[in-house]
């Protein structure tokens, strides 16, 4: 019973961080059709900047966290302005080749960013201070309040995202852009501005995920590729561009990984999720919740 409870608590928190990390990625794909391989590097950037500002510049965890999120948003816009936008407007390549070029370009951006992070921050993992100190005891388990708060904050952000998409004019426009960009343009929306908004929103979500991650298990430049791989697994499993599918997939992977880590071995945490992904790609290539 104690173990089951621990698995449930851990799975909930891990799933929430996975979901937050993958939500932005799936929105970007839904609206722009771009699979952003720089995702993990941007998440790590937010974590490392938060740590640096909080501890090295003595700004405290909350201002440090804000600085981390801001760094993620700025970097996302740099990626958009220097890589995505020029390539998207280029007449040098065929339209059907564009996604491949963008895919590779984001990978190159990720490698550059990861190299810069390693040069500046080193490769040793760092952990930001806990957002809140103390522990609570749930059914014989000692759970850090910080972990609970991280899960709650992640869900509040996801809830805010849902409210934004469902009830605001901009959010609805964003949703419409993922369904029919041409239709949206016909009724007078500037698609360029929608893309700008989506990339900013993506940077915000990736930044928050990074700050929470740094407080939960720590972060280093070396984990960027793993974070990208996990987010991709979630996005593909849930169905490309489907936000609710990503949330469900994040929890499926979160609990599957947690069960494996607790019952078999922590080092095998990722394996069942990847096996599941291969099976899903065979049986349902559009993902669990995707449409043809």
């Amino acid at each position: 019973m104690e173990l089951l409870l621990q698995i449930l608590i851990s799975g909930f928190i891990i799933g929430a961080i996975y979901a937050l990390g993958a939500a932005g990625l799936t929105i970007i794909f839904g609206v722009s059709g771009i699979l952003n391989l720089a995702h993990g590097a941007i998440v790590v950037l937010a974590a490392l900047v938060a740590w640096y500002c909080a501890l090295q510049l003595h700004m405290g965890i909350y201002w440090g966290g804000l600085a981390g999120v801001a760094a993620a948003v700025v970097t996302t816009y740099v990626l958009y302005a220097l890589v995505v936008l020029p390539l998207s407007r280029s007449r040098q390549m065929a339209a059907d080749e564009l996604p491949v070029f963008l895919f590779v370009a984001t990978l190159l951006f990720a490698l550059i960013l990861q190299g810069l992070l390693e040069w500046f921050f080193g490769s040793t993992p760092v952990a930001t201070p806990a957002l809140i100190d103390g522990v609570i005891h749930i059914g014989g388990n000692t759970v850090p309040l910080n972990s609970v708060l991280i899960g709650v904050v992640a869900w509040m952000v996801l809830g805010g995202l849902w409210l934004f998409i469902s009830f605001t004019r901009l959010g609805k426009a964003m949703l419409a852009a993922s369904m029919s960009p041409r239709g949206l343009a016909i009724i007078g929306y500037d698609i360029g501005r929608i893309h700008l908004l989506v990339w900013g929103l993506y940077g915000l979500l990736a930044g928050i995920a990074g700050v929470l991650l740094a407080s939960f298990i720590g972060a280093s430049s070396g984990v960027a590729i793993n974070l990208t791989a996990t987010a991709f697994t979630i996005v593909i499993l849930g169905g490309l561009g489907n936000v609710l599918g990503s949330l469900a997939a994040a929890y499926i992977l979160g609990f599957l990984g947690t069960l494996t880590a607790f019952l078999i071995a922590p080092s095998l945490r990722e394996i069942p999720g990847l096996c599941l992904l291969i099976i899903i790609l065979y049986l349902r290539p559009q993902g669990l919740f995707g449409r043809h």
Binding site: G122, T124, P129, V135, I217, G222, T258, A261, P266
Partner: protein, 423 residues
């Protein structure tokens, strides 16, 4: 004709550039004939790699300030292992074949050290390993002395580290009336070459030290979430975590602290010796106990305090990591050998290094002979007058407090508030 006139300045510039290029090309050779090139190799982005570079730099600066050897100074060449055996092998070849390096010092990871040993032999260039602890390093030298005679180990091997960990555990915990209830240990090791002999030695020596080994956990170095491992440790009712970690450090310590695991964190924790570890863990290392060859300027010899002060002043860090001390002593041994050897050939340097008997910052620096079990490894002894020695410490309020050996101890073990002997 007009064209020819126009090209004259261009030709002159090209000739000048060629001349400058030729002279510049000749310069490194001319400089190499004057200075002695020594290489230092480590992962540049890692806490323990940076300590190796810093210590080598400091040693060379002091050596050159003293006038070098016979008027020749050392020129330090830095190489990055990137934690990769392939990168390290390429760097070693480049160092010897292109940069004229006569000896290499450093290496943090055992896997890289073991992969560089054959290159040291092929290139007949001494390699003094200062950060990696695998017992296979002296074992291989002992097994094939003619082949691996160019390899020296400036740091004690993992079996000795484990043995010292057990001695500290005995003296500090089980033989201490206040802490003798801390007697249920779990062996907690990262999956790396250096920890296998540590685990084997822990299994043997912990029971002799009065501790019961209740579990043995090896984990992948890329493990992010230690919750399942700590859950197992709690279920084992272990009250001492006997660690063997160096590649990892921050994540297990931060999560131990955050999750308030009721077991003392002890054993060997390579990163914890550096003050940067306090920053990286945001103070979660408070209460962590570990052992290291050097620490906080512990006055092991009359050179310890001067090194400690110079290192802190030059690099603006509070505490050097263990491999800063071992690298500084290895560089001192090499500098001594350069003074004694008739030339800088690999064979001449090996013979001179084998004769090393100097006082370093960790104790006496001398190497075992090729026939000894720990062939070409620095002599270890709890008495610093006889060999490289070992100190046990605990992080307390952001400071490293020496808890072992008793004659150097500056304080006693403080049990963190969330740790309990019986749970």
């Amino acid at each position: 004709m007009r064209s020819s006139k126009l090209n004259r300045p261009l030709l002159a510039a090209a000739a000048l550039a060629t001349g400058v290029y030729c002279v510049a090309g000749a310069l490194p050779d001319a400089r190499a004939a004057d200075a002695i090139a020594v290489g230092v190799i480590a992962p540049k982005s890692h806490i323990l790699g940076q300590a190796i570079f810093h210590a080598a730099e400091l040693s060379v600066a002091q050596f050159n300030a003293r006038g070098g050897v016979n008027g020749r100074k050392i020129e330090l060449q830095e190489y990055n292992t990137n934690f990769s055996a392939a990168d390290s092998a390429r760097a070693f070849q480049r160092a010897v074949q292109s940069d004229g390096v006569v000896a290499m010092v450093g290496v943090f990871t055992s896997e890289v050290a073991l992969s560089l040993m054959p290159w040291s032999s092929r290139l007949k260039t001494p390699l003094i390993i200062t950060g990696a602890a695998s017992s296979q390093i002296p074992e291989r030298v002992h097994a094939q002395p003619e082949r691996f005679k160019y390899v020296f180990h400036g740091y004690v091997n993992s079996a000795i580290l484990a043995r010292q960990g057990c001695i500290v555990a005995h003296d500090v915990f089980t033989n201490n009336p206040r802490l003798k209830k801390y007697d249920r240990a779990v062996i907690f090791s990262e999956d790396a070459a250096w920890t296998k002999p540590v685990d084997a030695a822990y299994q043997k020596c912990l029971p002799k030290a009065g501790m019961k080994v209740v579990d043995h956990i090896r984990f992948a170095p890329d493990t992010s979430d230690f919750t399942p491992i700590y859950s197992r440790i709690k279920n084992d009712h272990a009250n001492v975590i006997m660690a063997a970690i160096a590649h990892v450090g921050v994540k297990p310590v931060v999560q131990w602290h955050q999750q308030q695991i009721p077991a003392l964190f002890s054993g060997i924790n390579g990163q914890a010796g550096s003050s940067k570890f306090w920053d990286a863990t945001n103070g979660a290392t408070e209460g962590v106990i570990t052992g290291t060859p050097g620490l906080a300027g512990a006055p092991l010899t009359d050179k310890s305090a001067a090194f400690y002060a110079a290192y802190k002043k030059r690099f603006h860090v509070d505490e050097p990591a263990y491999d800063a001390y071992t690298t500084f002593d290895a560089m001192s041994a090499l500098e001594d050998a350069l003074g004694k050897a008739p030339n800088t050939s690999g064979d001449a340097l090996v013979k001179a290094l084998e004769q090393t008997d100097i006082t370093g910052v960790l104790g006496r620096v001398a190497f075992h002979g090729l026939n000894d079990k720990d062939a070409h490894e620095v002599v270890f002894n709890e008495d610093p007058k006889k060999g490289q020695s070992f100190v046990g410490f605990q992080w307390q309020h952001g400071k490293q407090v020496i808890i072992w050996p008793p004659k150097l101890a500056t304080g006693h073990v403080v049990v963190p508030s969330f740790v309990a002997a019986g749970h």
